[in-house]
Subunit: 213 residues, 2 copies
DNA sequence: TAGATTGTTAATCGATTAACAATC
DNA sequence: TAGATTGTTAATCGATTAACAATC
């Protein structure tokens, strides 16, 4: 077994999709699957499935049979969730979007744990969000110095994100799940950023509907 | 002027990003910008900017000077929002995520108009969401027969999306903004689908934080 | 004019797909 | 054994980047 090729970003982006499909296969009691069948269900090609699997480790496919669903799930779980230690995350911005998004962190199904939530609106301070009390944004520095969160979830308008992201980087935040329109990749190239630009996605849909796909 | 090359999906995905940057340039009073400067601000290359602009129409760049911000904005607005007629959309699923997401439709900034919202929970029926009353999902067929929405926004769990998507396609829905884990591209290859898989995006972030980028 | 920048063609890079020997 | 499927290498495809003449 030679060391597997490092996964490229397109491959990484497909891993959660494999994970979900394989989970649903396991749920209905399917123990083994070929690259051809999996590709058909996912709308991709068998070649791509096999290439992707070659990047993620020792998948142990058996010629003539396919892959063990359990084995693939175990490999993907380790890659996506590590050894089970959950990444400590904080939420910045507790409006409607922040409230909806916080459940993805506290769901206990994505490998994170929400340790604090902050908002600039004093009227919200003390109210619970996904089971934890909202703090004022002025307490950010003190909290981070003590608890060392690794990930920040930004549910703020552009201007707020621009103001606060520098403070967060200085406080040791390594990763951003960013819902603001302010793109953090340019000012902080060393941070790991996952941008979710909902407005952009909606505009793209509009383009494709209006101008043909 | 030869007809511009049809924009590929990667180009289409970048158009909203250009749009937002150009808007912020206009806000601070910048009337003209070069591909080099724009690329630097957006974290891409001047080449890519010029290639992209060649797909979107008559950008009228001036050698030695750059592009007119107003002209670029006008072109992008027409591509993204058409002639101003807004796409009629319905929301399926009025939980926390649906509530947050509905504001992107009613914001009046993305080219859509929210004409109805549905939920399976009778207790929610009649309550307002982004200014319109929630209807019961059983009224879906009657409503669509009368009002012909073009876009459905799915804020449902996987199983709900699987159940309802077929009905929506039969009712003439052409586009989906899909937040469920059920991928509509495979069963309905003719629909225009914009998947926003928040859980997947969060898992990808976890992968990159745990396994190095 | 000289410097800067476009529009466009060519080169490169990387991702996807095809092919096929190995083998269960 | 025969049929199916993997792992991997090679071929293709497409997107990004570089280059440069035209020109403001």
């Amino acid at each position: 077994m030679q060391p597997s090729a490092k996964a490229s970003v397109p491959v990484i982006r497909r891993l959660p999709k494999y994970y979900r499909y394989l989970r649903s296969l396991k749920e209905v009691g399917i123990a083994s699957i070929s690259s051809r069948e999996l590709a058909a269900q996912m709308g991709t090609t068998a070649s791509q499935v096999r290439q992707d699997f070659n990047c993620i480790g020792n998948v142990n496919g058996r010629q003539g049979i396919g892959y063990s669903v359990d084995n693939l799930l175990a490999i993907l779980e380790r890659l996506l969730f590590g050894d089970g230690e959950r990444l400590p995350a904080i939420l910045i911005g507790c409006g409607r979007l922040g409230t909806a998004v916080s459940s993805f962190i506290t769901n206990n199904s994505n490998g994170y744990t929400l340790i604090a939530a902050f908002d600039a609106n004093s009227a919200l301070v003390g109210r619970p969000i996904s089971g934890i009390p909202i703090r004022h944004i002025d307490d950010l520095e003190a909290f981070c110095a003590q608890h060392h969160p690794q990930v920040a979830v930004l549910c703020l308008p552009r201007s707020g994100a621009q103001q606060i992201s520098g403070r967060l980087v200085d406080l040791g935040i390594r990763g951003f799940w960013n819902f603001s329109h302010y793109d953090l990749s340019v000012p902080y190239p060393n941070a790991v950023v996952e941008n979710v630009h909902l407005g952009d996605s909606l505009m793209s849909l509009g383009y494709r509907l209006r101008n043909g796909d």
